[in-house]
């Protein structure tokens, strides 16, 4: 990942898009969240959702896949420029996770993140804390997912 000093509040990054198929929605749900509206087309059609839709935990997992791939591309770009990528610290957690609308089979979700806050990490010299809003928007431009994620980011140091 990039260094703490190189991050700016308000920076927005598109992470990529994913089309959720009925098959993968059901596969994830059978494993982790087998509620009727995630595994059965007919039962989903009769439910308040009106059609088969993805588990919210499936949506966040697919977000994560895009984030990890983005970070990998970013690290490669830095290495190509002769830089050593910053070490990624652990995430202490998530706040304000919202599933605002269902993600239906066939929906294409575009994931993005925007830096909201940068501050020193108390008790962790050499590291800063970065808070970003992470979002998913469907093909109609509707927000379906939003959460604030915190992450420790390494500083360049004294140099």
């Amino acid at each position: 990942m990039r260094y703490f000093e190189d991050m700016r509040v308000g920076e927005r990054t598109e992470l990529g898009s994913h089309t959720f198929t009925a098959d993968e929605i059901k596969t994830f749900a059978h494993r982790y969240d087998p509620q009727r509206f995630h595994i059965d087309d007919d039962a989903a059609a009769r439910s308040h959702f009106g059609a088969l839709c993805a588990s919210g935990w499936h949506t966040t997992a697919v977000y994560m896949r895009h984030f990890v791939e983005f970070e990998r591309r970013e690290a490669e770009r830095m290495r190509a420029a002769g830089e050593t990528p910053a070490r990624a610290g652990p995430s202490p957690g998530i706040r304000e996770l919202r599933w605002l609308r269902p993600v239906y089979a066939g929906d294409t979700i575009t994931f993005a993140r925007e830096v909201k806050e940068l501050r020193d990490a108390a008790g962790r010299p050499g590291w800063g804390l970065m808070v970003a809003q992470n979002t998913g928007v469907n093909q109609k431009g509707e927000l379906v997912l939003s959460f604030m994620g915190a992450k420790f980011a390494e500083k360049r140091g004294k140099a």
């Binding site: 982790y32 969240d33 997992a61 994560m64 652990p90």
Partner: protein
Amino acid sequence: MPKYYWEDFPVGHMAEYGTYEVTAEEIKAFAAEFDPQPMHLDEEAARASIVGGLCASGWHSCAIMMRILADGYVLDSASMGATGCPEIKWIAPVRPGDRLRVRVKVLGTRVSRSRPEMGFVNARIDMFNHADLPVMTVTTNMMLERRAKTGEPAGGA
């Protein structure tokens, strides 16, 4: 017919569900699909990392929590899903061999204004490993159908 409705989760209601045994194979399979970072994919790389050994993706922990809840009561309930989680805290790594259990405590409830047939349940969910150490804490807002489809609940909560 569902066994449990919104009325069955009053403030202060507490229940425990599980256990769920986590394997290295499952940690790696989830990570390969959704969170391909070395500490979730490879024992040796994980040992060299900040977490000191193979551990589950935080999102995998969330998915496991959901499975424990699903088997515990959600599949027998009139669940309408959830609107989100005000907070998720990953407290300690989830390791291969962990046997996880989940404790649910209801913090607040209310009837939906726009959909009186539905109520919200705000709950705190703690997940523990077999050594009784907390590994994750989640607060969540669940939606459930009401047995009484209209009107305010008795007691006017």
